[in-house]
């Protein structure tokens, strides 16, 4: 089984710090990491390979520093990786990104061998659109399912998946090739093995594809191939809040203050009244 897993190299939004002086968030100098939500997808891919044999190929469309992210997943046990990088891919929205990824998957099909399964994480921590799996499915006209928690290969070479929606757990059987979006907490990702990572590096298991390799029309990639345009960005407007902070002498006083504040607040008085004594 040949599994392709998509990886995104993202700024670590968890490392963004709050500046108490200015009340704003500091975005500069944030280090990048492999999108944490991609790791359950890598884990699921590795488990399928370990179970039925084959290989896992990680792909990422990104500027060259993203090879660090590919090294990371190679350290988890991914067999090889392809960095898809070119200036003409820069500024891509999800449609243009999915286009390049889909064409790269077709190139893997043609030059490395048939791809049986394409696996993505549920969404990224930096933009969290969850678009890519469906969009790649659309370019390749493949069946796909989101929010997958488990996947097993059946005797007849199909894939059984379990996924969870808001109120339902569903089980599907998919013909391969297919595309999966793996739920955020589906599986605990295995740790990186330093020796595996080192060996992958020595064996140069990351190859780079540029647009010389993919030969895509530049009108379909990057900013030009993106229907959406970011007209502007602003800092998230603050919700007006009262911001009263009480340093109580003890817990009793803190509790009393909270209750008194609720009773003095025209928005909270009535709900508190109702929950304690019912009626109005």
């Amino acid at each position: 089984m040949r599994v392709v897993v998509g990886i995104k190299w993202v700024p670590n939004t968890q490392a963004v710090r709050f500046d108490p002086e200015t009340g704003t968030l500091i975005r500069r100098g944030v280090p990048s990491i492999v999108n944490p939500h991609d790791l359950p997808a890598v884990e699921l891919s590795l488990r399928l390979r370990d179970e039925v044999g084959g290989e896992v190929i990680a792909i990422s469309m990104a500027p060259p520093p993203a090879s660090k992210g590919l090294e990371f997943v190679l350290g988890m046990g991914v067999d090889r990786a392809i960095l898809i990088t070119d200036r003409v891919y820069a500024g891509a929205d999800t449609l243009a990104t999915s286009y390049v990824l889909a064409r790269a998957i077709q190139k893997i099909n043609a030059e490395i061998g048939d791809v049986d399964l394409v696996v993505f994480g549920q969404e990224t921590i930096d933009s969290s659109t969850a678009h890519i799996p469906a969009q790649v499915a659309s370019w390749l006209e493949l069946p796909y399912v989101y929010y997958v928690k488990e996947a097993t290969v059946t005797g007849n070479g199909r894939l059984r998946v379990v996924r969870e929606l808001e109120s339902y757990v569903e089980e599907y059987e998919l013909e391969l090739p297919a595309i999966l979006g793996v739920a955020i907490r589906a599986l605990k990702p295995r740790p990186v093995s330093l020796s595996t990572k080192l060996r992958a590096k020595l064996e140069k298991r990351i190859i780079t594809w540029t647009n010389n390799d993919l030969k895509l029309d530049p009108r379909c990639t990057g900013l030009k191939g993106s229907p959406t345009i970011v007209a502007k960005t602003i800092d998230m407007p603050e919700v007006p809040r009262r911001k009263e902070v009480f340093k109580a002498r003890d817990a009793r006083e803190a509790a009393k203050w909270i209750i008194a504040k609720m009773l003095a607040d025209e928005k909270l008085r009535e709900p508190l009244y109702r929950s304690l004594w019912g009626g109005e």
């Binding site: 449609l95 345009i229 602003i234 817990a251 009793r252």
Partner: protein, 379 residues
């Protein structure tokens, strides 16, 4: 004036269409178990506003099987017109099947805008629709507007872990597609007297031959959904373990509310995933949100923007939550919450007459004390 597209500059894999050919605002309305899905009805709220701004019609597109009788309801919730696709081919949901129904209709009717509820299903099939039409899509919008000059719809969303707010438009592609999470917009008021046209359409649905549904089980849930709760007592990393959530549950019960949790609390396994509040969880709109041991990361706070009041209890005097809450106390929840429960139980027994005692105590405190100061300066 809408943008004039030069076809030779466009990706040759995209159909060349002029934005001016597209009209009307669509909301995709789904039905489940014989009822209209509430998240999709909520999308009629921004749909109505944008249709009015564009001076176009708001059209509900009702898709499913045995759904025709629900069409009038969509009108009552604010649509001018409803297009119904009631087909046995849509009996079992498959993302590509649902998407193909919308794509087929959109190719014929050419709507300028499509809004889709960002339920898990919606998030699954909406990008397939957009890509098949080679249209732009913007997920998890928190607001929509119309650019007064270009008449493009502005799709407003919080990228970068909800620290930023981006204004997105698709000036040279139509339809303009946007999704929003459930409860980001309120349900529109239902107007019994509202009338509108109902159009029954047949579509070319692509049957799904590559996947099949094996089983579908409803998840049994006893408690109130966090989205519906008036009071939420929510715990974060600072709770430290599952037993702490028992305390929060007790407080929630007393306040006739429910418990929620941050991503970290869910990751740690202290509370179930369906109770998660925040960017990768749910958006909630309680009257009161009590954040306990929650630091106040932007990804969490995006989910509670619509809370009317926030009370924060946190032991870390540097926690950013204090700058984003209405009433905060610095302290160990293991002491504050039991005290709060005891005080509330005592108040419950004493009865409403004792309220003034608290108010007097508070005004004395506020007159004589310097310990209550706004925001970060108190730290």
């Amino acid at each position: 004036m809408s943008f004039k597209v030069e076809c030779d500059k466009l990706c040759p894999e995209w159909p060349c269409e002029q934005p001016g050919e597209f009209r009307n605002v669509w909301v995709i309305v789904e039905a489940e178990d014989g009822r209209l899905s509430e998240p999709s009805l909520q999308m009629l709220t921004p749909g109505r506003r944008i249709a009015d701004k564009l001076e176009e019609k708001l059209v509900g597109v009702l898709i499913g099987y045995n759904v025709s009788h629900l069409a009038e309801e969509v009108i009552k919730y604010g649509a001018d017109e409803v297009i119904v696709v009631d087909s046995e081919a849509l009996k079992t949901y498959h993302p590509r099947v649902y998407a193909s129904a919308v794509v087929d209709l959109a190719r014929r009717y050419k709507p300028s805008v499509i809004f889709i509820a960002g339920t898990k299903r919606g998030r699954e099939f909406a990008p397939y629709i957009a890509n098949t039409l080679k249209a732009g899509i913007t997920a998890d919008c928190t607001d929509f507007d119309v650019d007064p000059n270009s008449r493009d719809v502005l799709l407003i969303r919080p990228p970068f872990a909800a620290i930023l707010l981006a204004f997105i438009k698709t000036p040279f592609r139509r339809p303009q597609i946007g999704t929003a999470r459930p409860n980001v917009f309120p349900l529109p008021a239902r107007d019994e007297s509202r009338r509108g046209e109902v159009i029954f359409e047949k579509v070319n649905v692509t049957a799904e031959t590559k996947m099949r549904l094996i089983s579908r089980k409803q998840i049994a849930r006893m408690e109130v959904d966090v989205e519906k709760a008036e009071v939420i007592v929510s715990g974060g990393k600072g709770i430290g373990g599952p037993e702490g959530f028992k305390l929060l549950e007790k407080l929630a019960e007393l306040l006739k509310g429910t418990v929620g949790g941050s991503r970290k609390a869910v990751d740690a396994g202290w509370i179930r995933e369906d109770r998660q509040v925040g960017q990768t969880g749910k958006s909630v709109k309680p009257v009161l949100y009590i954040a306990v041991g929650i630091s106040g990361a932007a990804q969490h706070m995006i989910g509670v923007r619509e809370a009317i009041r926030i009370i924060a209890i946190n032991a870390d005097p540097e926690a950013p939550i204090f700058n984003q809450a209405d009433y905060s106390v610095i302290g160990d929840y293991r002491e504050v919450i039991p005290a709060l429960i005891e005080e509330l139980e005592a108040l419950k027994i004493k009865g409403p007459a004792s309220i003034k005692e608290y108010i007097e105590w508070l005004s004395n405190l506020e007159r004589g004390e310097e310990r209550i100061k706004p925001g970060a300066q108190a730290i």
